[in-house]
């Protein structure tokens, strides 16, 4: 009853508007030809958020971007360099463990007290360390910004790393690692990295049961000390604040953070020699789908070919109607979705194409993947329309990067982390527009090297092995879920 009363009151108020609207449109309707695609209006002006960049006395960079639409502030400290630069050999996982342990207690507060304080502020602090960068971050209401920052500072600088917490988190991590083995998609990407980069290159390494068991409390404390340094930090504040207010709050909140540290160098070992194209088959008995990862090491983010590669990938495997998905999902119905991407970083991130494929169509899908990859390197020339659509997709999609305080924060921080110019977004359209079909062919041939693709497939061997062999696309190598050769595997006849 309560609901209906409300509804009828509302409906009464609405009738009036409905009538007036109906009047407006009578004219338009008489000439409506639905076959005519409505033309777009004039292209709206792109408003790239502005920001200030200053240096704090401790060496950290402070970026502030004002946005007063809502009483929200996003705060992030980003560290240049990550587990690939700072984790000692054999201790993969210490970065993530340290990140988790920052909230376990400080010199003045227990883990429970820190948690309760954050709950009462209505927010949480995210801490993460990835391969090449790490961050501490939160979004709060404007009024809770300073007290939340105080807790973040306390966790970053005064953590006590209780031994009991280390054992609890170690136990949880081990359970997570066991569960990951049951996830074909996770296994697929881990094995793919191992095949491409080997175990000597950080890109091929990951946290294992052995490395987690080897982590000591001293390792964690040493990592914390070495890593969370202002000399490699970018502090980004976006939202309902001003440069002056944010700077004062940060200087006060992080006053105890003494100058130290610098930006690491990103020297990676040489890549293992490229192997002739091969299928690496990981057996997952009974799997309903085969998880595909096809690719090889690619260029770093600072490649001059970046814009050409972005356009190329948009045509090949970016949006829904890209070549791979249009063919393998929409036309053939072999999958719920396939795609491709270049994983850009400071080192040779992978080019990868893949997706989950209905087991019975594993061979047919591989044939189509190869057809599309051959197509993009020249057999199926890119049309003018494909080129235009891909450029429109990239250029006109830019405003979507500025839709929230945390999105803006990411967009600005990216420029500093990757060493891109401050006017990157202003010149983005120009750079994308400049890409030609010749550029695309050149970068496709250069980076999608068909002779040396690793084709990693996680699936039900009993069902897919023979059909895969019959495609004759590449010889099959048998590996386990760790990426190691399986002893006694049936030798491939190929």
């Amino acid at each position: 009853m309560r609901q209906q009363r409300k509804a009828s009151a509302l409906a009464a108020a609405l009738v009036i508007i409905a009538i007036s609207v109906a009047n407006i449109a009578v004219l338009a309707q008489q000439t409506l030809d639905r076959t005519k695609v409505p033309p777009p209006g004039p292209t709206p002006v792109l408003h790239v958020p502005t920001w200030t960049k200053t240096q704090l006395s401790n060496g950290a960079t402070l970026i502030v971007s004002e946005r007063h639409k809502l009483p929200l502030v996003s705060f992030t400290i980003t560290f240049i360099g990550g587990s690939n630069q700072f984790e000692p050999a054999g201790k993969r996982g210490v970065a993530a463990m340290t990140a988790s342990m920052l909230s376990e207690g400080t010199t003045t507060k227990t883990g429970d007290q820190l948690s309760d304080a954050l709950q009462l502020l209505g927010t949480g602090i995210g801490v993460g360390v990835g391969g090449e960068e790490g961050s501490l971050t939160f979004v709060s209401t404007t009024k809770n910004f300073e007290p939340t920052l105080a807790i973040l500072a306390d966790e970053m600088l005064n953590s006590t790393f209780p031994a009991e917490a280390l054992e609890r988190l170690r136990g949880r991590t081990l359970v997570n690692l066991t569960q990951a083995k049951d996830q074909p998609v996770v296994v697929g990407s881990q094995v793919f990295a191992k095949i491409l980069y080997g175990s000597e290159h950080p890109y091929g390494q990951r946290t294992t049961e052995t490395s987690v068991k080897a982590i000591t409390r001293d390792d964690v404390m040493a990592f914390q000390k070495a890593y969370f340094q202002p000399g490699r930090a970018i502090i980004t504040v976006v939202g309902d604040t001003t440069t002056a207010t944010a700077k004062a709050a940060v200087e006060k909140g992080l006053a105890a953070w003494a100058k130290a540290g610098d930006k690491p160098s990103f020297n990676y070992p040489k890549l293992p020699e490229l192997q002739p194209a091969k299928i690496y088959l990981v057996d997952k008995p009974g799997a309903a789908q085969s998880v595909f990862n096809i690719g090889l090491p690619g260029p770093p983010r600072n490649t001059p070919d970046y814009f050409a590669l972005q356009v190329l990938n948009t045509i090949l495997g970016g949006p829904f109607q890209s070549r791979l998905n249009a063919n393998i999902r929409e036309q053939k119905g072999y999958s719920y979705g396939v795609n491709s991407n270049f994983n850009y970083g400071k080192g040779p991130g992978a080019f990868r194409a893949g997706g989950s494929i209905f087991s019975a169509k594993t061979d047919a899908a591989l044939i189509e993947f190869m057809k599309e990859l051959k197509g993009i390197v020249g057999e199926k020339p890119i049309t003018d329309e494909e080129l235009k659509t891909a450029k429109d997709n990239l250029i006109q999609g830019l405003p979507q990067r500025f839709t929230s305080v945390s999105a803006i924060s990411n967009a600005i921080t990216l420029l500093v982390v990757q060493g891109l110019p401050d006017d990157y977004y202003q010149t983005y359209a120009q750079n994308v527009s400049a890409v030609t079909k010749d550029d695309l062919l050149r970068v496709a041939k250069r980076y999608i090297d068909l002779e040396h693709l690793a084709i990693v497939i996680v699936g039900n061997k009993a069902e897919i092995e023979a059909p895969l062999k019959a495609t004759g696309i590449a010889p099959i190598t048998y590996i386990d879920i760790e990426g190691n050769p399986v002893a006694g595997a049936t030798p491939s006849s190929n």
């Binding site: 409905a18 209006g41 948690s115 359970v175 795609n339 997706g355 929230s404």
Partner: protein, 474 residues
């Protein structure tokens, strides 16, 4: 991200629910009391409800349509139609050739997607603001003229995609069958919430072209739809376009809403399911109420007090104090007509599910006896304001918030009511719902590794679930 596209169903249900908490979280303190979503709403003569909300922060617009049809409107033996349409609706319509929809959205830097739950299906476009007119044209064409170009070939192609979606999201996913096991066990076979949103492989294969078309004619009508336009646009212009493209679509038959009884168990059930996993899990569900029932507010608050942060009751007891579990989650999951309070625990290796279940019961019993403390209540509500504000950041977030109220409560501003009612929840309310709902007969499900039924909680009393009768991986 093609993979994320046209996501649905059980997953979407969980997502919707978890989103709807912050969304109806809404405002709390003085800062946010002044925060409003300015909007305007009206109905076209053919019954289409329209909501307009301007926001000129970025030169983008979200166009969002909800049809008040979900899997609960299907018939046993013909399940999965609402979700199948979520796919078919992207394959072209009377005046829109296949592929043009993507071209006028993704192809111009925008996006599109849809989602299906038990209760409703939504379709949306996020676009640069100069493409608003074409987005309205696209949506109106598939509302009015979808069947003009729908043939068996198109239907079969999307059926294959949906079967792949099922394989990917359920069958090839560890623990992926849990949702459908519960809905099958919680409700009688003819109950509209008893089948999974994605439907069964058998039903999807059996559906005829005419079955599917009849379903569309009944539910995809202006009078069963709500359209929201949110973002950078001129309202006068938008109204004219909406009238131009939607105004002449014929009104459909009135839609009868099924009268859906709440879930009710005469006795507790104890089930065990063998999956391709290495780590067992314990799941428990209690039948509760739908999202329109006032107890839903207290049940949601109870979820925040029982699990989540490290000082939440179950988390503290199981993950921190005794450390018998690696993770625990407990929350109210309500749909339009029914709800469940659900719990999942991932044990640490040395601890059995039987031990876990006993520990859970002990925490819940103590909680039901003493109720929450004032501080627990305060902490559970403190995040509402931030959740509310963050939900207002994107055009699409705002659109979904307004439409949800319009569809389920006939009031786009329902989020305010929800927010106030959540803030008004007392310790006595929470204590009462704990006693009222968590002492009822319930379903306990153990998911165990293949061949390890003895790892189930109270294994000898547990009945084995075979999934061959539903879905299957054919």
């Amino acid at each position: 991200m093609t993979n994320k596209r046209r996501v649905l169903s059980a997953l979407a249900l969980v997502l919707t629910i978890s989103l709807s908490q912050p969304l109806w979280g809404q405002k709390k303190s003085s800062t946010s009391d002044s925060i409003q979503i300015p909007f305007e709403t009206y109905k076209l003569p053919n019954g289409l409800t329209v909501i307009l909300s301007e926001d000129h922060t970025t030169p983008t617009v979200a166009v969002d349509i909800w049809y008040h049809v979900g899997s609960k409107n299907e018939m046993p033996g013909r399940t999965g139609f609402a979700h199948l349409f979520e796919h078919v609706m992207f394959t072209g319509s009377g005046h829109v050739p296949y592929g043009l929809h993507d071209k006028l959205t993704e192809g111009v830097g925008g996006g599109n997607n849809g989602s299906t739950t038990n209760d409703r299906t939504n379709y949306y476009e996020t676009i640069p603001s100069n493409y608003l007119e074409s987005a309205l044209w696209l949506e109106s064409d598939r509302m009015g003229f979808l069947l003009d170009t729908l043939d068996i070939a198109k239907l079969n192609a999307q059926r294959d995609v949906v079967k792949n979606e099922r394989r990917q999201s359920y069958d090839n996913q560890p623990y992926g069958r849990v949702g459908e096991i519960f809905s099958g066990a919680m409700y009688p076979k003819t109950h509209p919430y008893s089948w999974p949103v994605i439907g069964s492989m058998t039903d999807l294969s059996a559906a005829s072209e005419e079955d599917v078309k009849a379903f569309f004619r009944l539910y995809y009508t202006p009078n069963n739809a709500t359209l929201a336009v949110v973002g950078d646009f001129d309202p006068k212009q938008a109204k004219a376009w909406i009238q131009k493209y939607f105004g002449d679509l014929p009104q459909g038959k009135p839609v009868e809403r099924p009268k859906v009884p709440l879930g009710k168990l005469d006795a507790s059930k104890r089930l065990v399911y063998e999956d391709r996993v290495q780590v067992p899990r314990l799941y428990i569900q209690w039948p509760t109420v739908g999202s329109k029932h006032d107890d839903d507010y207290a049940l949601s608050v109870m979820g925040s007090i029982l699990s989540g942060p490290r000082t939440a009751r179950l988390t503290k007891a199981l993950v921190y104090d005794t450390q018998i579990a690696s993770q625990v989650a407990a929350f109210e999951n309500s749909a339009e007509d029914v709800g469940v309070f659900q719990l999942v625990v991932i044990p640490r290796p040395e601890h059995t599910l039987t031990e876990i279940e006993a520990a859970v019961d002990q925490v819940i019993q103590k909680f039901a006896t003493e109720g929450p403390t004032a501080e627990e209540l305060q902490k559970a509500k403190a995040g509402l304001e931030l959740g509310f504000l963050r939900g207002l950041e994107s055009n699409l977030g705002k659109a979904n918030q307004l439409i949800s109220g319009a569809v389920f409560d006939n009031n786009p501003a329902q989020f305010k009511t929800d927010y106030q009612k959540t803030l008004a929840v007392t310790a006595a309310d929470v204590k009462r719902v704990a006693n009222q709902y968590l002492t009822r007969p319930r379903i306990v499900l153990s998911v165990v590794p293949k061949g390890k039924k003895d790892q189930a909680s109270k294994a000898s009393e547990s009945e084995t679930v075979s999934m061959l009768t539903r879905g299957g991986t054919q």
